[in-house]
Every structure is written in structure tokens, then in C-alpha cells.
């Protein structure tokens, strides 16, 4: 068990994508956020979804993750949302680019206005640093330490060989936070699609072996769409199986309950999207499959499959097979100790 890392159960954390607004329009941004965007989650809906989340399965959801865009763009809203979530007992986390931390004093002043936020994830990379210098990150970290907030530093890059990435990794190491640095892969999706030719990837004909544990935590978007994860699929029209529903049209809790019996979602959680590739091959649909994948990126596999209407349709037919649904339900018990799907299918569980 020593090499296993801690994680959280399915649906124990809910993301709220507060806004597409951001102080900067980074060239890699998946959601294409920027100062020109206007979409923002209505405050009353946001607070209502937090209340609904609190009541869900008698407190099953433990964390609220605030994301964007830049959640600090509207500080008054962030303050109200994070405080209410904290009052209700959630662990509240937020991403930020630290634009508000140009001085140490402004960093302190800003963080004091959001006492409900317990954990900050500060983004910095070659893209963010075009408009937000590293000193902002330093100030945000220093203020976070003073005010007893936890933090990590999220860095995005297409390759760790990039000199820009290496410079930033060195800056982070210099302030003693190398262990708090988390690296994500820039994908040629969203705004980065326009610059795809400048990105460097190792390519393989074999899909990544990893699964996406991000699919454990759904995210509500400003228009009410509930996506199974905050990955590249959110850039697609919401008619793919990883878009779980719209919380303006049905209750958030019903959407979450329905997610328990979404076989495609749980295949991705248990085995990863490579299992979907295998299912398509086993069912004679191998010719539909992409010819190459980005090495080590389950997100790339998932995006390539879900952005092809023919593949989505064929997967829907395959996953309608009772035997496959049962296999997924039993796999959730075997590997994840999760009974919900088997119970929903009326399989053999007894108290």
C-alpha cells in the first residue's frame, strides 16, 4: 500500500466554475477565459447549488472547488460564495493566477476578504507569466502562509524540456516550494488549438494507460451544465456522455444520482479511456479510432473519442449491453469498493 496516494471518493468534491472572466487571456487556456468574456455564474444560483450540495446524501460532498476564469476577478462574489460554503462546513478551495498580489500588502488585504478559502492553487507558467510576474506568486504564497492558508502551485507545460518551464521550476525551487509544484500538460485544445503547431508532444499509436481521477468530481458551469470533469471535454457541445446534465433544468442532486449509473464515466474512472478504445476494437469499430495519441495523456484519448459523433454513438450502443454494464458495476465494487451502481441495477448486494 505504500505507493498508493490519498484520494477522495466519487462525488465528494464539487467544482463551481464561477466565471469565464479573467484578467489575462493566456494562449493555452482550455476555457478561453479572458477580460473580454462576460459569462458569470448568477450568485443566487451559485448559492442555491451550494445549499443543494450540502444536503446531498446527508453530507456526502465535503469540498467545494471554486474555479474559472479567475475566481478573484469578482472579489465580492468570491467572498460571499466562499464564506457561505465554509459556513455550511465545506472545505473550500480556489484556483487563481495571483493577479491581486502585486504587493505583499495587496495580497494580504485580498486574502483577508476571503476567509472561507482554505486552499489556494496558484497558477504560474510561461503563459501566465506573460502578464503576471512571478513576484505575484511569491507575494500570494507569503500572504497565504501568514494567514494560515494552504497552497500549491500549478504549472502547465507541453514538455518539461522547455527552457521556460525549467526556469519557472527553478524559481519555485528557489523559494523552497518545489514539493508544492504540480505539473499539468498543455493540450492542443481551447485557445491552445490555434498554437498547436508550436507544442511538442511524444506521440504513440497506443492510448495512455492511465485513468482520469478528475472524473470523480463534477463541475457546474455558469450556464448550469454539469460536466463530469474539468478537462478538455468541456469545450465540446454538451451532448456527450460526460456532460451529466444541466442544473438549471433539473435538480443538481438528480444529476449527481444519475451519474452513479453512467457506464462510460465509470469505465474512465476504473480503467481509463483506453478501455473504451478496447471495447470499440472488440466490437469491430476499430477503423473509427484515432491513429495516434499524446503519450501519457488520458485527457487526449478521452477528447479524441468524445469529439467524434460516430464513436459516441457506437459507444452508446455498446454500453447498452447489459453484460458490460454489469461488468462496470462489479468492477466498481471490486476495485473501488463502490456499491451504488450495483444497487441501482438490482445486482446481488444484501445488507
Amino acid at each position: 500500500m505504500n505507493d498508493r496516494k490519498l484520494t477522495l471518493p466519487f462525488l465528494s468534491n464539487l467544482g463551481l466554475m464561477l466565471t469565464y472572466r479573467c484578467t489575462t487571456a493566456c494562449p493555452h487556456c482550455l476555457v478561453e477565459a479572458g477580460p473580454h468574456r462576460t459569462e458569470q455564474m448568477p450568485l443566487d444560483r451559485c448559492l442555491a447549488w451550494i445549499e443543494e450540495a450540502r444536503a446531498y446524501r446527508d453530507g456526502h460532498i465535503q469540498g467545494i472547488a471554486l474555479t474559472g476564469g479567475e475566481p478573484f476577478y469578482d472579489l465580492a462574489m468570491l467572498s460571499e460564495v466562499s464564506s457561505r460554503a465554509r459556513e455550511l462546513g465545506f472545505v473550500v478551495t480556489a484556483v487563481t493566477n495571483a493577479f491581486w498580489a502585486s504587493t505583499l500588502q495587496s495580497a494580504r488585504d485580498t486574502l483577508r476578504q476571503v476567509p472561507g478559502i482554505r486552499i489556494l492553487s496558484i497558477s504560474t507558467d510561461v503563459y501566465h507569466q506573460r502578464s503576471i510576474p512571478f513576484r505575484n506568486v511569491r507575494h500570494a504564497i507569503e500572504a497565504a502562509k501568514e494567514l494560515d492558508r494552504l497552497y500549491n502551485i500549478a504549472v502547465c507545460t507541453d514538455t518539461k524540456d522547455d527552457p521556460g518551464y525549467q526556469r519557472i521550476a527553478a524559481q519555485i525551487a528557489e523559494i523552497g516550494d518545489a514539493e508544492r509544484m504540480r505539473v499539468a500538460m498543455t493540450l492542443p485544445i481551447g485557445r491552445a488549438k490555434q498554437n498547436a503547431s508550436s507544442l511538442t508532444y511524444e506521440i504513440s499509436s497506443t492510448p495512455a494507460a492511465e485513468a482520469c481521477s478528475m472524473a470523480n468530481w463534477p463541475v457546474v458551469f455558469p450556464n448550469g451544465d454539469v460536466q463530469a470533469c474539468i478537462g478538455p471535454l468541456l469545450t465540446l457541445p454538451p451532448d456527450h456522455p460526460m456532460c451529466l446534465g444541466n442544473a438549471n433544468r433539473m435538480k443538481l442532486t438528480e444529476i449527481l444520482d444519475r451519474a452513479e449509473t453512467n457506464p462510460l464515466l465509470h469505465i474512465i474512472r476504473v480503467w481509463g479511456p483506453r478501455r473504451l478504445v478496447a471495447l470499440l476494437e472488440e466490437h469491430g469499430a476499430g477503423e473509427m479510432l484515432p491513429k495516434e495519441y499524446i503519450c501519457g495523456s488520458p485527457c487526449d484519448v478521452c477528447y479524441k473519442l468524445m469529439s467524434d459523433e460516430r464513436i459516441v454513438r457506437r459507444l452508446g450502443e455498446i454500453l447498452d449491453e447489459e453484460e458490460i454494464r454489469q461488468e462496470v458495476a462489479y468492477a466498481r465494487i471490486y476495485f473501488l469498493n463502490e456499491l451504488a451502481m450495483a444497487e441501482a441495477y438490482g445486482l446481488h448486494t444484501e445488507a
Partner: protein, 69 residues
């Protein structure tokens, strides 16, 4: 809370037994998930004390032959 007993049919358990699990970290970036920080914030403690949250680890099932490549 009662203990639930589940009998996984042999045709499935035989497949599952041929697989092992690997563990991955959540991807940072747009979603500020960091399990170690959540544990520090006390979130994992709350989960661990709740019998319905029986899982503390991420399990990703992978056929053994993939890891042996």
C-alpha cells in the same frame, strides 16, 4: 451501518483478478484538487471517520501486461 455482502460472479472476478491497479494523481490546473492539502485541511479526517466513505485510495485497474511493456 450494516455490512453489505456482495458476490461478484466468477466470469467477472476472473477478469478482475488478472488486473492490478496503478495509482495516479489528480491533474492540477483548473480544478484545485490536491489530496495532500485536503488531508491537511482535515477533509480526509472527516472522510476517514465516516464509515460510508470506505475508500482512502485511488485505484485504477490496469492489465498486468500493460505495466510490463
Amino acid at each position: 451501518m450494516g455490512v453489505r455482502r456482495v458476490k461478484i460472479p466468477g466470469r467477472f472476478s476472473e477478469i478482475f483478478e488478472r488486473e492490478i491497479v496503478i495509482i495516479i494523481d489528480p491533474v492540477p490546473g483548473l480544478m484545485p484538487i490536491d489530496i495532500r492539502l485536503l488531508a491537511q485541511a482535515g477533509m480526509m479526517d472527516k472522510l476517514a471517520s465516516d464509515e460510508t466513505f470506505m475508500k482512502e485510495f485511488e485505484f485504477i485497474a490496469v492489465p498486468k501486461e500493460i505495466l510490463n511493456r
